[in-house]
Symmetry: C2
């Protein structure tokens, strides 16, 4: 399994499955969203941390590649890699796996923003959070950067016929 | 309101609202997913059309920009613009609005794939669907292409301090 951070795990429930009989695209993103919650828990921004600091995280932008169908009842896990950061932004990659299987079922690159909830307004990570972000960034620096990072959506070049 | 195609409308329900008190990022994507269902209905791929043709649509890839908070109870609409297509792919832009307001609350660019469900495997749009896709593409060709199309996620260039 990945050397990145396990941040969420759940079975796929019936509410998330579409008329094609598998996880609806939008709900992959709900799983990644819960994966970001799990990351927040690990950098000091769980409910108690948000309350104490008045800070939270908003998602600015996301990209997702849907790679394989995921079926009802599958036990899925979200692994998170810190790809980069600055004083108030956190660039992460999130990989969806079936538990015990190395295949990436979907991958989402996301840009997260540290916010002070009294605005809400963009605001640097508080020191305790910044230290944990730095620690993760250092730990993940040497891991390979997946091919799904930095993509642009486009139609393939036209072929004859 | 946009000249593009209205494909979904709903009030924002409690299940979709996060601990920050507004629509959770993942659920914006669920709304866009329902917006694609609405598009499918209008190009002959509603439940009856899927049954008759054995074809459906899968989402290959998506990009989303979260622009404004959306609150519990807001009446939201998804508008769809066809940005391009080929024999089996459909490139669309989806804009989330509050009903009656021109402000784009979130924007998602997506690449959709026509599939034959007996695989499932990639398969060209059936003629009736292809004709409707072509009609929409022609109707939307002259509309402006939003700035959120073709983006890459990245940290801003580093500044001093």
């Amino acid at each position: 399994m990945p050397e990145t951070l396990l941040t969420f795990e759940t079975p796929v429930i019936r509410d998330w499955v579409d008329f094609n009989g598998h996880l609806r695209d939008g709900f992959y993103m709900v799983l990644f969203s819960y994966g970001v919650d799990g990351l927040m828990d690990q950098i000091g921004l769980d409910a108690a941390g948000r309350q104490a600091t008045g800070h939270s995280i908003f998602t600015l932008e996301a990209h997702v590649n849907f790679l394989h169908e995921v079926k009802l009842g599958a036990q899925v896990q979200v692994y998170c890699q810190v790809l980069g950061h600055d004083a108030k932004r956190l660039h992460v990659g999130l990989a969806l796996h079936i538990k015990g299987n190395d295949t990436v079922m979907a991958y989402s690159e996301q840009m997260l923003l540290s916010v002070a909830m009294d605005g809400p307004r963009a605001s640097p990570f508080v020191p305790n959070v910044a230290a944990r972000v730095q620690m993760l960034a250092t730990a993940h620096r040497s891991l390979p950067r997946p091919a799904y990072v930095g993509r642009v959506i486009s139609l393939p070049a036209a072929k004859t016929a």
